[in-house]
Symmetry: T
Subunit: 148 residues, 12 copies
Amino acid sequence: MIEVLVIHGPNINLLGVREPDIYGHDSFDELNRKIKERGKQLEIETRIIQSNSEGELIDAIHGTLTWGDAIIINPGAYTHYSYAIRDAIAAVRKPSIEVHLTNVHGRDEWRRHSVVAPVVSGQIIGFGTESYLIALQAAKTLIEESHR
Amino acid sequence: MIEVLVIHGPNINLLGVREPDIYGHDSFDELNRKIKERGKQLEIETRIIQSNSEGELIDAIHGTLTWGDAIIINPGAYTHYSYAIRDAIAAVRKPSIEVHLTNVHGRDEWRRHSVVAPVVSGQIIGFGTESYLIALQAAKTLIEESHR
Amino acid sequence: MIEVLVIHGPNINLLGVREPDIYGHDSFDELNRKIKERGKQLEIETRIIQSNSEGELIDAIHGTLTWGDAIIINPGAYTHYSYAIRDAIAAVRKPSIEVHLTNVHGRDEWRRHSVVAPVVSGQIIGFGTESYLIALQAAKTLIEESHR
Amino acid sequence: MIEVLVIHGPNINLLGVREPDIYGHDSFDELNRKIKERGKQLEIETRIIQSNSEGELIDAIHGTLTWGDAIIINPGAYTHYSYAIRDAIAAVRKPSIEVHLTNVHGRDEWRRHSVVAPVVSGQIIGFGTESYLIALQAAKTLIEESHR
Amino acid sequence: MIEVLVIHGPNINLLGVREPDIYGHDSFDELNRKIKERGKQLEIETRIIQSNSEGELIDAIHGTLTWGDAIIINPGAYTHYSYAIRDAIAAVRKPSIEVHLTNVHGRDEWRRHSVVAPVVSGQIIGFGTESYLIALQAAKTLIEESHR
Amino acid sequence: MIEVLVIHGPNINLLGVREPDIYGHDSFDELNRKIKERGKQLEIETRIIQSNSEGELIDAIHGTLTWGDAIIINPGAYTHYSYAIRDAIAAVRKPSIEVHLTNVHGRDEWRRHSVVAPVVSGQIIGFGTESYLIALQAAKTLIEESHR
Amino acid sequence: MIEVLVIHGPNINLLGVREPDIYGHDSFDELNRKIKERGKQLEIETRIIQSNSEGELIDAIHGTLTWGDAIIINPGAYTHYSYAIRDAIAAVRKPSIEVHLTNVHGRDEWRRHSVVAPVVSGQIIGFGTESYLIALQAAKTLIEESHR
Amino acid sequence: MIEVLVIHGPNINLLGVREPDIYGHDSFDELNRKIKERGKQLEIETRIIQSNSEGELIDAIHGTLTWGDAIIINPGAYTHYSYAIRDAIAAVRKPSIEVHLTNVHGRDEWRRHSVVAPVVSGQIIGFGTESYLIALQAAKTLIEESHR
Amino acid sequence: MIEVLVIHGPNINLLGVREPDIYGHDSFDELNRKIKERGKQLEIETRIIQSNSEGELIDAIHGTLTWGDAIIINPGAYTHYSYAIRDAIAAVRKPSIEVHLTNVHGRDEWRRHSVVAPVVSGQIIGFGTESYLIALQAAKTLIEESHR
Amino acid sequence: MIEVLVIHGPNINLLGVREPDIYGHDSFDELNRKIKERGKQLEIETRIIQSNSEGELIDAIHGTLTWGDAIIINPGAYTHYSYAIRDAIAAVRKPSIEVHLTNVHGRDEWRRHSVVAPVVSGQIIGFGTESYLIALQAAKTLIEESHR
Amino acid sequence: MIEVLVIHGPNINLLGVREPDIYGHDSFDELNRKIKERGKQLEIETRIIQSNSEGELIDAIHGTLTWGDAIIINPGAYTHYSYAIRDAIAAVRKPSIEVHLTNVHGRDEWRRHSVVAPVVSGQIIGFGTESYLIALQAAKTLIEESHR
Amino acid sequence: MIEVLVIHGPNINLLGVREPDIYGHDSFDELNRKIKERGKQLEIETRIIQSNSEGELIDAIHGTLTWGDAIIINPGAYTHYSYAIRDAIAAVRKPSIEVHLTNVHGRDEWRRHSVVAPVVSGQIIGFGTESYLIALQAAKTLIEESHR
């Protein structure tokens, strides 16, 4: 069975609490329930972690050396400056997908630049909680391609 | 039945001919066949146009005022400087998805900036021809949401 | 009788349809009717063209070598990057006026820079459809001065 | 009767003396005579002030809280750095028009940026002394619109 | 009774040890004692935390969802690049005050830019350990205002 | 008795008139009354001046060579470009506090940069008219410290 | 026989009419006659096209997939921003030479940057109509080399 | 007899008081006495003015249209942003010399840029009060040359 | 005996696993064994820590206040943005050496800038695992010098 | 007979030795032999010099005041920063051609900017050793034109 | 007797030959004769050297360790990039004056920046050959001051 | 026996004379004596050259094609702009080490950028004269590795 690690970056645990006009009314638990459910439908085993600490996110990425065929990551605000997370993703060499709930390009200028983008396989941006679900489908495609 | 207009920008007609190491070996016709097929599966009526002319692409976008519930657009190199295409997308106010075959963030610096991005609903980047197919699914979700 | 060519750039054909809060509720046809009418009052023969294509706008500017004593042009989004339109205006050496419906300086940063501005005779910015009508009066003054 | 305050910024008092190849041969008195005359034709009462002092220009703008339906202002070189004049214009909330004698975009790079532009209603640039006269007409239109 | 969370960022635990010419001779414990004391005088219950870890600081900010009417934060060097801390402050929507011991504007260029500043309620900068004490008074005012 | 000069820069005389959503509904006279009152409570003799003229503000700062133990200054828009005011503050070498009514960092980009900041003793930003009152307390602390 | 496609970009059709002090007095027809003639001397079959439309220029470049061993292109003002033309040249993988009539480096700053330059084989700049004729010789050398 | 206007900009009246380590111990009166004396030796009639107001400095420059064969100006901090003073100097077209007491290039970065420099005849920088005295000699040379 | 703390930043624990073409084939354990060994030869007691967390690295640096005569640190990707680590190194005032396995100047542009560099004593860059061993020798020299 | 000075800048003496994948396998002597031969065919007398010293290259350019109707120069790396060589070329006012062996625009960013380009007559870039031979033909044309 | 070394940088040997409209009609020999003569009047022994080589200019500056109380240097185009000449001037610690024949601020942008300026004592700019003669007087003043 | 060429760039011959607070009190001869001595200990034959001329430094680097297994170079101020020295180092393809006496990152901004760094094997920065001695050891390691 395919293994996918879903990583939520800083502040995403506040989903539903934090600026619902921007991020939507789904709670964080609701999002994770949907990810699990869609995973089952696609025959993907999912593990989900959230941390506000840059170091713990890097540790989690390293963890895919022993568990995980692909990474789905929403690096939150670290997207814009964490070269350490970028190095971690590049180091483990797994198919990886950067997701964002909102269209980051339509907001503050500094949210338009991702230092992580050059090392991921692809990006899904702007479809709310659906972004994660679409990413599960895309992850499956990437893994199957890499097995050919 | 849902109507989706798929717009291919400049040079995409050379798919399969142009730098296959970067853009893949699928031909342009093959890509369009897949889009049609996936559309049918999702109960989406698709129309596809390709043009190397910025003006014709704008005309096509305007066309959705009379036909089309959503737009899937790969603006090719116009992504990086066509404020006119951006204005057109903003003007027609339809759900719209920007797609790219390759991870544009992992290539030349100038390919990392999209002037179109702030006005689209979302982006699907880096999954080869699969990018378009994922976008069809995402378009359906966007349309259904806007109907609620 | 004085001849003035009025050139509308990309997306201006959607006037009244496109973001009416910004661009006003007058339709494109209504605007053109007003231009014709004011032209007659000022004893100016007007011709009006609109195109979304950069190439066709350049062709139109070239056309003033055989018809047209002055140019009134709203280059739309091409204002901000079309060095080719700039070169065309400089090449035909006619009195020329750049007009904008809205105060472009009060909106997005990128709308504040005009590559066309250095080669036109003058600018009328921010008076809605009235911008064009004021420009007709200004064009008349410019032509009369150049005949002295 | 409509009241319009015309404000001349620094060095404009030298009109006719200062670089006539650029600014024209009309003297400063001649310009003001024309403004008064055109004002009468349009049934506008005009007051004209000139100062080289940023503080006095701000005082004049504040003055429109008690006299003046609209402002026509040529901020001279202050155009390019006086955020204090900008704040004053924004504070009094009157229709306001920025005018320049010459096409500032066709000269030094630093003359191309106006810090005042984002807060005025519109701009008339590049028609010599005629710029002021056209502005009177435009001011009338703005006032009439705001009364509707 | 009013609840205020005081957050010390990285390296502030070295106060008194670290470059005393710049940061003063008060020790870290002395500072916290003063905060507690002034809090009592103003009838404010204070809690104080210090961490060198960006993630723990974010966790602390999140904590005000259950305890804390306002935040006083000295983000130390994170001031200049932690968009994640900025997002956390914005997410919890509490009155918040950024404090600095020294005049950060009179030192290195990079210390002049705060990414946190746009989302806090106000700033108190440059009064040594007194900065925190003034902030307690200001926090009280902010909370009382928000209750009106 | 301690002497403190309070200096209001350009447009602050319009307080209550100017954009009350941003600057609050207190009038300029009300603000000054509060400053006088709080001064008395703290045993500080206050003098207050306001000018729209950069030169007069500099003259006032020079005046502290004969009267004034400290300066509280809100330089208004001059904050962002008046190196002459900066030089004046540095020249008189008095404890000085820069105040702003609103959080300047949460507004336009250009309002985020203060050329005055590197030479003042400290800053109090974003607490409305309370900013001035907190500054009086801070000024007292600075003067007492400098006497030790 | 060797086949070379010569592509003239926007405004070059006005040669002889447009600013002759800069671009020379040869007419556009005269230039094309010289190209044909020199082509014959070098045993090169030449085809010449001119268009003001970016899209048509791209179409022409694509055409070399069926006719043309090499491309000589003067992209006019598109030189400075048409990433779409750049992509087209890269896609067809033919020997290609960028030519300019004038020394673009000795004029406006923006004329100094070519987005096309990194993908052409070489450049011939600044020799008037002779630039094209020299380019024919260079094209022949490039083709012969690529056949070795 | 030759007439030279010597203009001191903002804060220079504090000479001897202000940061004597940087600006020297000569008082402002002493400097002016030296200028008068050296003027007499060189058969130059000197007039000296000082103002902290940008507007008054411009008025003084305009004054040379009726008195003054040359200008010696130390614009103080206005050096770095007063385009209005620059325009005034350019407008009166007199030989003009920019002087500075200290080597402005060896201090803060922003002191290295002079917006006035492009329109003066020459500069004398870094020789303390001697800068003015050398400038008197240089002014004489410039006037004599312009009379040839 | 001399005490040296060796600090490995984020992702360095993956040495041997991560991009061996760039970072070499030595494993992380092998590197640490070599450091221990060389330390013994030089009569240096070494302690080695690795963490992916910025906060833990800062804590480790603080730890040298009680153990450690010098610091050898490879800050990994934090090199390029962690002003907090920089402040920590500056705060403890120990001889410190920044090391990098690879020549960071020959790779991505962003890897060329170190925010840590201005506060360390020296740098050893580009000699693979040998960088650490050379640094041990250099640390010894620095400590001996500081004891003189 | 026409005289042309051919100047080789730094490191070009290593041709054939230095990175042959980029610069080709022709040796430096072979290149010079070809230049001499082509010169003879075109009835041009050629002199060739090479130096790694900026000063000697300037001396050589000055030498054309007594010998040389035109200059062909490959300034090597000095292309990108030697304003002194630029001034020398401008000073002697001879027809001059900048040549490069490789397409400098397709390599490192810093190789794309030539400080010499604005003062030469034209450029031949990217045709290997053929660049020099084409330049001889172009030089002849330039000289003949200047004699008309 | 006072010793002053006068150093002419690259291309200054062409004075009178090179662009006389900009640099004047005095020949290089005439300039040196005037320097010698004025030197004698001021009881200064002068030595003059000119070189186009950066290395030789540095050698000359080093020479003042054994001969020369002050340096007058016109670094020509090296002014704008030779950090090596800057280091040499700083190293010998002699009073030094940077001179330029023309007002470098009124010409190309790149001529406005001097890397040498921060380390010289003062600058004399824009008085033609007189710049050197004024500098001799200034050098004398500097030397006399340093002897006090 | 291993051959290492040690190259000293401009102004390094003044060691001990030049700013000893920054560069240390060792004389240049003393430094070279130490290099020779350490060389002998390591069984390295050393040759040492110093020049202030960029051209001579390039000549020396070229010399390693016939003598020298590795290069140790302190390019002095040329570090920051000599692309010609960079090209020379890249051309000869020898192991090469850039050394600096002082921590260049802790000084002026412009000293932080090295154009040479991307082409050397490694860097040793900030250990005074010890930098060269450490580099000898590092050079030996590099040579031995390249022989494996």
